[in-house]
């Protein structure tokens, strides 16, 4: 252990570098990425209207069934087109491409059953327009259900109880985790450096083990800087 400590303090500039760089990179990443924008809304499920939908599992809660049906709808270019139609801002972001919009919605929109009858809808985006997009999505989804089931009552499958609003893009917990991982990576790399450097130096004569390695006792260790001078010159 002493040998490793010795190496650490001998090469402390190099050893400390990863411990500083990795967490700094994690912080920089968090700042630069900024976590983007995250819009969120809560909807309340209307159980009677839910029965009309395609994917119903009797073992699931109403919220879980609605989340499933909404998720199935996300990949559809037709639905994406409807959302773009309802939100000209989104159409501009998507360059009026239904395919792009369908992929974007599929990737960034999540439906989570947060209660037996409550579904939380989240849209994560790099654009501050996440809010109107989510509003349009929530408005268009019941209409889409009604068209698919040919039942106008499907438009009442849910009602928005918490209107779309921005929430923190990343939680403190996540930030701490990223920071912690950065620190861990830095410490591990530093440890690796110290370990390799120690094994390299192990090939050189050191006070701790030269006696064991040569079978001779160390009679004296002349400290660095206690050299001899003859006249002006060091010997």
């Amino acid at each position: 252990m002493r040998r490793y400590l010795e190496t650490f303090f001998q090469y402390w500039r190099f050893a400390v570098l990863p411990i500083l760089i990795f967490p700094a990179a994690a912080i920089a990443g968090l700042v630069l990425m900024g976590g983007g924008y995250k819009a969120q809304a809560n909807v309340w499920v209307n159980q009677s209207a839910l029965k009309q939908l395609a994917y119903i599992n009797i073992g699931f809660t109403p919220a879980q069934n609605l989340a499933t049906n909404l998720s199935q709808m996300l990949g559809s270019p037709m639905f994406a087109g409807a959302v773009m139609q309802a939100s000209p801002q989104y159409a501009a972001i998507a360059h009026h491409s239904q395919q792009w919009a369908a992929q974007d919605l599929h990737k960034n929109v999540t439906f989570t059953a947060t209660g037996p009858n409550v579904v939380t809808v989240t849209y994560a985006s790099n654009s501050p327009r996440a809010l109107p997009v989510l509003t349009a999505l929530l408005r268009q989804a019941p209409i889409q259900f009604a068209q698919l089931t040919h039942d106008p009552s499907a438009t009442g499958v849910y009602r928005v109880v918490d209107s779309p609003a921005f929430v923190a893009a990343s939680s403190k917990k996540q930030e701490l985790l990223i920071l912690g991982l950065g620190l861990l990576a830095g410490v591990l790399l530093s440890g690796l450096f110290v370990s390799i450097r120690t094994s390299m130096d192990h090939a050189r004569v050191q006070l701790e083990d030269v006696g064991d390695m040569t079978g001779l006792p160390v009679l004296a260790a002349i400290p660095h800087g206690l050299g001899l001078h003859l006249g002006e010159e060091a010997v």
Partner: protein, 222 residues
């Protein structure tokens, strides 16, 4: 030359040899561990695996300490003839070990005093045949002659791994020390050098230029 003449000659010198105070204490410990009997007239050989380990430093440091603490005359002999340092430090070429051995004369004739009781024999002229010189030195040992001989003789031997005759020349010493430089010399070389000295095992190692990078509070904690 009698000892009295050496002493008189040395009085004229202002000693150019200087050691930090802490160094004297280190060499005192080293001398104590050698357990040389007073009056034994032992020849202490200082060798190393390779060049640059600090043999001359240790030889002169040990000699200066013994000379300062005792009234006994101490002699340092430079036997590393291919890398001589003493003649330069003594202010120019001087007759030395090579000349004495080649001419078959006693060492007393080529001794140069540094302090009243510290004398040195520099390497001297470069021999035509280094191998032949080393062979002769190893077989005939240091030419003492019939006259005066110092109480302690310290020989700055050539490095073991650089010369085939290295281990043989080490045989001229009654007590052998191996100097090695901390954090520089490969351990394998030191081990190999010790193995070559099988018939004349060194009394111990002197670790030169040792330094610790640990903060004092960690060192103190053990």
């Amino acid at each position: 030359m009698a000892i009295a003449e050496h002493m008189e000659e040395a009085e004229e010198y202002s000693s150019p040899l200087s050691l930090p105070d802490e160094a004297y204490e280190v060499y005192r410990h080293l001398y104590g561990k050698l357990q040389l009997h007073p009056g034994s007239r032992a020849v202490v050989g200082i060798t190393s695996a390779i060049r640059g380990e600090g043999r001359t430093t240790v030889a002169l440091g040990l000699a200066a300490t013994i000379a300062q603490d005792s009234a006994e005359p101490v002699l340092v002999v430079e036997a590393d003839i291919e890398n001589p340092q003493l003649h330069e430090l003594l202010g120019g070429p001087r007759r030395g070990l090579v000349d004495a051995v080649t001419d078959g004369e006693p060492l007393a004739g080529v001794m140069t005093p540094i302090t009243p009781n510290l004398l040195v024999v520099p390497a001297g002229s470069h021999p035509e045949n280094v191998g032949a010189f080393f062979y002769r030195l190893a077989t005939s040992r240091l030419p003492q002659g019939d006259g005066w001989w110092p109480a302690v003789v310290i020989v700055d031997l050539p490095p073991i791994m650089n010369y085939g005759y290295g281990p043989m020349i080490a045989g001229i010493a009654d007590v052998l020390l191996m100097v090695t430089r901390a954090n520089v010399t490969p351990t394998t070389l030191v081990r190999e050098a010790v193995a070559r000295l099988e018939g004349n095992r060194p009394r111990g190692l002197v670790l030169n230029d040792h330094r610790t990078y640990l903060p004092s509070w960690i060192s103190r904690a053990g």
